[in-house]
Symmetry: C2
Subunit: 237 residues, 2 copies
Amino acid sequence: MESYNGTPHTLTRFDDDLNSLRTLMMNMGGMAEQHFADALAYLLDADAIRGARAISQDYEINRLESSIDELAIQIIARYSPTANDLRTIMSVVKTITDLERIGDKSEKLARIAEEIGPTLRTTDFVSHFRVMGRIVSGMLHDALDAFVRLDAIAAEEIIRRDTHVNQEYNAVHGILLKFMTENPNSAEVSLRMLSCMRAIERIGDHCTNIAEYVIFQQKGHDVRHGELSRDKQRTQI
Amino acid sequence: MESYNGTPHTLTRFDDDLNSLRTLMMNMGGMAEQHFADALAYLLDADAIRGARAISQDYEINRLESSIDELAIQIIARYSPTANDLRTIMSVVKTITDLERIGDKSEKLARIAEEIGPTLRTTDFVSHFRVMGRIVSGMLHDALDAFVRLDAIAAEEIIRRDTHVNQEYNAVHGILLKFMTENPNSAEVSLRMLSCMRAIERIGDHCTNIAEYVIFQQKGHDVRHGELSRDKQRTQI
């Protein structure tokens, strides 16, 4: 076993390996961003090429998740990092679980887009989807950025943005409910629109999780269930 | 730094600490089981006392999640475990994230039960909920049991059970859709029933995750995205 408290040579190798771990996580993050953006482009702008990519892209993200888990274990076993570095590694391991779920939900979004995109784009709902998609894409990008820069202030601001996502979701939920009551034959398509909204809203939750891991490792204590924790009850159920 | 490859005395302390970690995880698992059972009892049998408990219980589960994360970091920092033991510790850290989400969803279930329980219990849907609740409760119990016994065969069987949950969910989804089309004024209550079904179905997904971590640590390789991985596309969206 090597100790990274040892020679400068070993320290460098530890730093290199930890950087590789972060780089792989950021690659996975970039894929998740791309995946989500492709699904939105398919849903909102009928971009079929990006749609096909969103549906087929999940394998690569899943493969990366397994590799990163394995690398994390190897790094810990090889260098016996300190508690602080362990917090970083644990945060990476937890973050990639959220990134994998973002990939899943983007794929789901693209599959629903295939069915209801044409109908959705003729309704007023599409503008709400655009707003929500833009907020959540920004959250994902900024959460990954905050992770790399270890920026707890930015992370806190990202967590606060989730409130807007939930407000938007609740607004659309109300409008869709009214629409369904007035147009009983639209129940199926309405349910699918609701599934889309929920997939986007859930991706926002995963971004909140990632932001919480940033604060966790930066401050060295757990904020996940504290005052800045997202208000889970605010979303319409 | 202590090495658990050292004296038998240190080995015992490492084993003790690892056992404490597992015990805390099982306590959290027991709470999640209780939480889910309480929410189901409120929804299906109007048990208001258990309902109140399900709504108020989340804090304790969240507190345990933070303590277990911290203990995992301390154990790794103190004993520099081998890759195999790290796999176990990582599996605990990942499992508790799923247990925390099961707690969240149980609380959500209890909150919806408060609103729609009386209506639900007058419909035929209630029997479907009972079936699904029973399958998923069994999955949760058996997944925790398989974790403690490191029983990969049992874990594989639990993953297969998720298919039944998805089939049941899809069946109810179809019936509810028909019901909504025929009873437009029931849209709101129907949507809430669907939310209940989805919360139960999602708890099934979390049980599948836990079962996958059992196989991951037992076999020492990752099955999460292999042939036994749950078929995420099977659920109605």
